[in-house]
Symmetry: C3
Subunit: 467 residues, 3 copies
């Protein structure tokens, strides 16, 4: 027996009156606001090439580690969730495990995508897997399911990709040059791989960077110059931000001599863990210095132990769903950097965390003093209805709404972008409705803030112009 798939118009809104009606009123006004997505992992090639999606498994399962990790936890080997496994078989794993995903945000996103984007009206289950696979496959072949058509339909105003500094941004250029393309897709400068001397592939990375910057990199000074050049190149192609992920945050500047010496030694042979750490901390300071000069907003998201399970890394590569958060610390770790740039008029940084203990203890107090510091949206495992509510509850009393960057989706799949924004908008309206009903905000103020969070703040904080 198949169950219908339906989305209630009040999903995620408070269950009791009067908060429900207030939230519904607030949400109605912003539900259709254009989407600004200043941080994400959709590839520019997807829109440049505009090829149809192959099948439901290739669209919704295989590339999304949020989904595959949960199926893996429920006993499905990762091998069974990627080619050469049959798409229909991959899809069936998802459908069979559907009841076990109850309560997760992953299921909620999938429901929104299936219902609102793909028009499904039957809930996934062992019984409906094949019918759904056929139905969705047909729909994916239609012109309106192609990436550019979806971009339009989703009301996306701007989409940001995340890119290697050595990337030639050819797909971004192709889009910019395409007279049939009316959207806006900009890159983000993500130099992690170049700043971590302890990576076995670091020397090879430096060669890529030298080639991309079209200059030799024989010294630390060359290295800095090459990074500056590539930041300039990204900015010319529309980038407004850089993005930095580190396992453990540190931002202590080395003196130039030490930086030169460590870099030179690393070029000759792999350097030790401690020197690599010190150099990484130094380079975050350098990135902030460059931000002051070129205006790229510095995004920082520390505290994830990547590839927790070696056998999975070996068999499936990184981003296979085995990254696990660690405790984070910002107050001491960011201090050296903020001592130098925290009140610089053109410096700006957006902080993300997967350790929610820092929300009230460190992040809100930092953003409540430093004009350069903005709080990013709840990230990764916290990008969920309950995580977002806890974020707002933890930081708002201390810093309000306007020291946060509004909603930032970090989506990996084009189709999940509207779903993630819908969830965030609903949850923010639910939170605002609470404040209205507790008489801390007027309805008019709440309506303005709802729009700020959904659209204006990300546009303004990420310097996207026209916001």
């Amino acid at each position: 027996m198949s169950q219908p798939l339906a989305i209630h118009p009040h999903v995620l809104l408070p269950s009791s009156e009067p908060a429900r009606s207030v939230a519904a009123e607030l949400y109605a006004e912003i539900a259709g606001a254009p989407i600004v997505s200043p941080h994400g992992h959709v590839e520019a090639a997807l829109l440049a090439e505009d090829a149809p999606f192959a099948d439901p498994a290739a669209l919704l399962v295989t590339p999304d580690h949020y989904v595959t990790r949960l199926l893996h936890a429920h006993g499905v080997a990762l091998d069974e969730l990627r080619p050469p496994a049959e798409p229909r078989s991959i899809w069936r794993h998802l459908c069979e495990h559907w009841p076990l995903l109850s309560g997760t945000v992953v299921r909620l996103w999938l429901e929104l995508v299936l219902h609102d984007v793909l028009g499904a009206r039957v809930a996934p289950s062992a019984a409906t897997a094949d019918v759904l696979f056929d139905e969705l496959s047909e729909r994916l072949a239609l012109p309106e399911a192609r990436p550019r058509a979806l971009y339009e339909r989703f009301g996306i105003e701007l989409l940001t990709t995340t890119d290697d500094p050595a990337d030639d941004l050819r797909h971004h250029r192709a889009l910019a040059a395409d007279p049939d393309w009316h959207g806006r897709v900009i890159p983000t400068f993500r130099p992690d791989a170049y700043l971590d001397l302890s990576r076995p592939d670091w020397p090879a990375q430096i060669e890529h960077l030298a080639a991309a910057a079209d200059m030799p990199i024989d010294t630390y000074d060359d290295f800095v110059a090459a990074l500056e050049r590539r930041r300039g190149y990204f900015a010319e192609h529309g980038a407004t931000s850089s993005d930095h992920g580190v396992q453990t945050l540190a931002t202590e500047r080395l003196d130039e001599g030490a930086a030169r010496r460590i870099f030179a030694a690393a070029l000759r042979s792999r350097c030790d863990r401690q020197e690599a750490g010190a150099f990484g901390a130094h380079m975050l300071d350098e990135m902030a210095r460059m931000s002051c000069e070129d205006g790229l907003v510095m995004q920082l998201h520390p505290g994830v132990l990547r590839d927790h399970h070696g056998a999975t890394l070996h068999a499936h590569g990184p981003n296979a769903g085995a990254d696990i958060p660690l405790r984070a610390e910002f107050t001491s770790a960011l201090r050296p950097l903020l001592e130098r740039y925290g009140t610089h008029p053109s410096f700006r940084m957006v902080l993300f965390t997967v350790d929610e203990t820092t929300f009230s203890r460190e992040l809100a107090p930092l953003a409540g003093f430093y004009p350069s510091v903005y709080l990013g949206a709840p990230w990764w495992f916290l990008d969920s209805p309950a995580g977002m509510l806890r974020f707002r509850r933890a930081v708002t009393d201390t810093v309000g709404f306007h020291r946060t960057a509004g909603f930032v989706d970090d989506a990996r799949a084009l189709c999940s972008i509207p779903a993630r924004h819908e969830v965030a908008r609903r949850v923010d309206c639910a939170f605002l409705a609470e404040l209205v009903c507790e008489h801390r905000l007027s309805l008019a103020e709440a309506a303005t803030i709802a729009r700020d969070l959904a659209h204006d703040l990300p546009a303004r904080v990420f310097r996207l112009g026209g916001g």
Copy 2:
């Protein structure tokens, strides 16, 4: 003037409609579900001997460190709460301090026991202490207040004890052999005292273990063999799990040579703190290895500083209510063990914590990738209505319900078992009702999940059969 003691039928359910009605409907369906208790501290002897409880103080105060610690905090010396103090005087301390226990889960459990199990209808107070003492003493002398009668009345399907590996399990055997006994009481293998070389009594413990295993323990290899033998003995007597408490979690494997050397040195003289720590970390790995082979589910609960107050330990021994939680860390500490066994098809571990910061940061992400990892119920200080709600709110968006082990009571007293299950069932129904009213779950799904949490999940996760 005495106050009535009453339990409202909607206690702990959400206060507003429509969530209250939904929660009440969900709870009505599972209120009478049989109790499965896969982890607890009631002794098998209690049921084997089936002697009547002596008096209300001996039943509800003296043996329960949750109660005595609070009275101690309010100024009652621990000496006044145990023999040779008079039972009536002990009981009076509880009644006189009753108003100061307002809002605590301890008072809620006691209310449920007094009202539902013992039939009291007057609230404890200085004025009612003596009357209640007499009334309850009378009731405890009745046949229906004996342990076996209570076991039946509570609807317990299975009760698990926690036992020393050298225990001969005579009471478990007596129960199994008793034709008049129709319940099920199984042991748990709890080897902490044998794995911690730094304990002054460790050499004596090893002698007990050797005697129990009926083999000499002269070497590390003997030690491992003896543990394996005792695990086998426990499994033969129905055990399905082992249980491990450590102050600081670490799981790094030593090479066999180092393990042998440290063990040999410790047998000759007490070993240093660092080597004892390394050996403990190694032995957790060994326990996981054995779990893969014998199928005992590995329970782990780190992060408690035992016996915080030396004078109390000296005068009253361990478990006197002076254990205080510490920060816990799982992501890095469990990695070596999970690298080895995390995807082993027969390995299974259940993680408990008293540091709720790990719920969303570490535990949910781990259980959302590793098929072997399940989340235990909120433990100890977190085993309370607000703690349970925070647990569900912190982990459900990330891992749903079916990577948790459902409710596990950890009760120290037979009478508190139904109270603890009632609290958990009500709180889980309250949480599920929220999701239903926010349109994230259908009522039918929520009803299934409520039953899973109350009964089916613990039965399945702890491999109890027939669940």
Copy 3:
């Protein structure tokens, strides 16, 4: 267009029935309870001199780092918020940024002060800044806006200041000797600057202390004697508590020889960081020892990195809004002290934190065992509606209400005292109403507890007499 400024009678109460009505009923009974303020930063001179407040900026902006830090975060330089900037210009900064403070507790406090204390009926904005400035300036010149008149009007029963041990308490004495003064203002002994040997000004501090104690301080024993003498002086002038802020908590006692040696070395030349840390830990133990003897309640609030931004410290001094919290740890750090004094019949300590992760993990368990340990109110960044609710939700199941010290305001400005108490009373009533509506407390019990939290507990815990 100007917006009205209004305070809804149900502000901060639960939005849904039946909890709203219950909370309103509870709040109505305690709204007018006298204010006991056992910890704060208003100066005794303010009341001794009773001079009128100069202007709205001098009253509400310049001296309040909660306000200036937020304006700084929104881009206003601190220089523009203090003389020689014009008061009217300072005030305009606040009014222009009013919409950006939406949702913060700072705005809520200001609204309560503006509306209830100063009679404003128009919301601050760029358009209303000048009118409000003139209107408020006029009102501040009236006799009823003088400090003593406000003290009366606010219903303050007792006000506590925070004072340097070398302070001669002349203003406290002046008030005590003033036949026209009927209030009660008592000092608090705050010796941080004398216990931290690493401070550059420590030798100068010791000279002040020697002068105040009227004895030479040449040795550690002199130092201890001088501190004891000053504590006695404070106690004679009404003090009932000492107050201790440290960055990282440690309480390990040195042997007397080591303490003497480190002190002597520090008198000759500045001592190293590690010895200073050890000496600070030792002196906290000494303070606890003295507390056992003289009965001063020991307040402890660790975990803040002061003056995070050096340039701000250099230009504006300490307490400029750039203090940022750090992770805190109590379980291990307090153990040595509690081993010695934790069950001493006259020892009492009140613990504050800005790291809310310690609420359920460490603070509630400690206060649920040690009769000397009380939990202070949510402090600083946590002294807000959401912070208070999280505090009660985190600790109540474990320790109830009566191991907490009730509400303690820590206010920096006389006018904000009633606002802070009103917020706390409303939030506590909201929390109690939840428990009533979930049938965990009767309405009568909740009413008693509401009064305990608002008045009786602070009076009793801080040994203020007559509570």
